[in-house]
Amino acid sequence: MDKILEVNQLSKRYGKKSAVNGISFSIEKGQVYGLLGPNGSGKTTTLSSILTLLKPTSGTIKVFGSEDLTSALKRCGVLLESASYYPELSAVANLKISCSIKGVDYSAIDAALERVGLTEDKNYKVKTFSLGMKQRLNVASALLNDPQFLIFDEPTNGLDPLGIAEMRQILMDLAKEGRTILIASHLLSEMEKICSHVAILKKGKIIDEGEISQIMKGQESLESYFLNITA
């Protein structure tokens, strides 16, 4: 199968402290891959390294078989934990900036806004949006280039129950479309429903990895397994 992401012996150190310590994993086309782990386990560091925000101390990362991550990222859709947008600009203006950077035609904006239900609010300044709306705007931005590989970091953080339900639906729809998804989240029940594969991180190392059905064998739930293994 086509490998969409290959992480090989990735390490990131801050002085003497090791945030990620020689982790390796790969994601194949069509997989929904969950990165699980307690706070400080290295999930965000791993994602930030893939996204070129952090420079790894050692190790290699390939996206779509290429180590030129900047070019590869233009074919990906990314949603970060903290919503990132220009608060004083409208939703449309924010998406125009993303289009300019990605090299995507502005005509993609309406479809992306329609998909996340923000069409009516598209001309309002983003600072007037609720957290859920801001997160949906970020999803719209991630979908502008119709990406086949999506990277989501804690997409439901800070959302109310309605926002979580909306985000879950969006994630499930994207997974059903056969897109490859890498997702880091604390919501284990959601991950159990969505993911085909998971890796569990603890103190910067992968302590278990594989198909979720294998990992869950003999377990009551992903949550109970996770609590046992990370305790």
């Binding site: 903290s82 947008y85 220009y86």
Partner: protein, 255 residues
């Protein structure tokens, strides 16, 4: 094509309330300077020389415009850090070089815009007070070069501070503090020289050798300045172009 896309995205980021307020302040104060100096000159019965008028206008306009353009530079980059949009730009596909070039390009355009607006404000003041001939006398090539180069160097210095500190407020405080420390240093040096009988010869102009003051000092004393001061200033210009780039491209972008 790539530069076009970078410039388009940078232009899309400009319409912010803070920028409109800065533009309004810039226009008001530049017009005030223009009216004030031309009015003073017209009512002084020609006791003031045109050379003095030109120097006063240049000093006031350059100081004010530099301060505002420094604040604009720091705010425009600082907000990208604060709002997380720098991370967003990078994950959308900007390289760090793209982001740096985009900011440099838009800030260069803003310097050109501020330069033109400053001259237009002077023209409006002169026109309103019937001093067009005086206006054409003081707007000499050295005046224009001095004004433009100082604005551009201020942008580079402000970029250095914001890429070093990565926080707008701290960078603006540092901008003022740096200027204050340099002024104090020049003052202390002059005082030591004046009261020390053991020191012979002409004192050097310390301002020529300090990062923030050197460009201003060298431009204002261009006729008499030493070659070593010009060399030091040139080195500062290269450093102020390279250091922000180095700081930005070599460091992690954390949330």
């Amino acid at each position: 094509m790539k530069l076009n896309r970078i410039l388009t995205s940078e232009l899309l980021k400009l319409p912010r309330m803070g920028n409109y307020i800065l533009l309004g302040i810039f226009l008001l104060l530049n017009l005030a300077i223009s009216f004030l100096f031309f009015y003073e000159f017209s009512s002084s019965d020609q006791s003031q020389s045109l050379e003095d008028l030109g120097r006063q206008v240049l000093t006031s306009q350059t100081s004010l415009s530099s301060l505002l353009i420094a604040i604009f530079t720091i705010m425009s980059i600082g907000k990208e850090y604060k709002d997380g949009t720098l991370r967003k730009n990078i994950i959308d596909g900007y390289t760090r070089d793209d982001f740096f070039v985009g900011k440099l390009l838009i800030l260069f355009l803003c310097v050109c815009f501020a330069f033109l607006l400053g001259i237009i404000c002077l023209f409006i003041g002169a026109l309103s007070l019937g001093q067009l001939s005086e206006f054409s006398e003081i707007i000499t090539p050295p005046f224009l070069i001095n004004f433009f180069v100082e604005l551009f160097y201020t942008v580079l210095f402000a970029m250095f501070l914001i890429y070093l500190i990565r926080k707008s407020t701290m960078s603006i405080v540092m901008y003022f503090l740096w200027g204050f420390i340099e002024s104090i240093s020049v003052g202390i040096y002059a005082a030591i020289y004046q009261f020390n009988d053991d020191v012979d010869g002409e004192p050097i102009n310390l301002a020529n050798y300090l990062p923030k003051s050197s460009i201003d000092s060298v431009l204002n004393t261009a006729a008499t300045v030493e070659w070593s001061a010009v060399l030091v200033t040139s080195i500062y210009i290269v450093l102020m172009l390279y250091l922000p780039y180095y700081l930005f491209t070599k460091r992690d972008i954390r949330s």
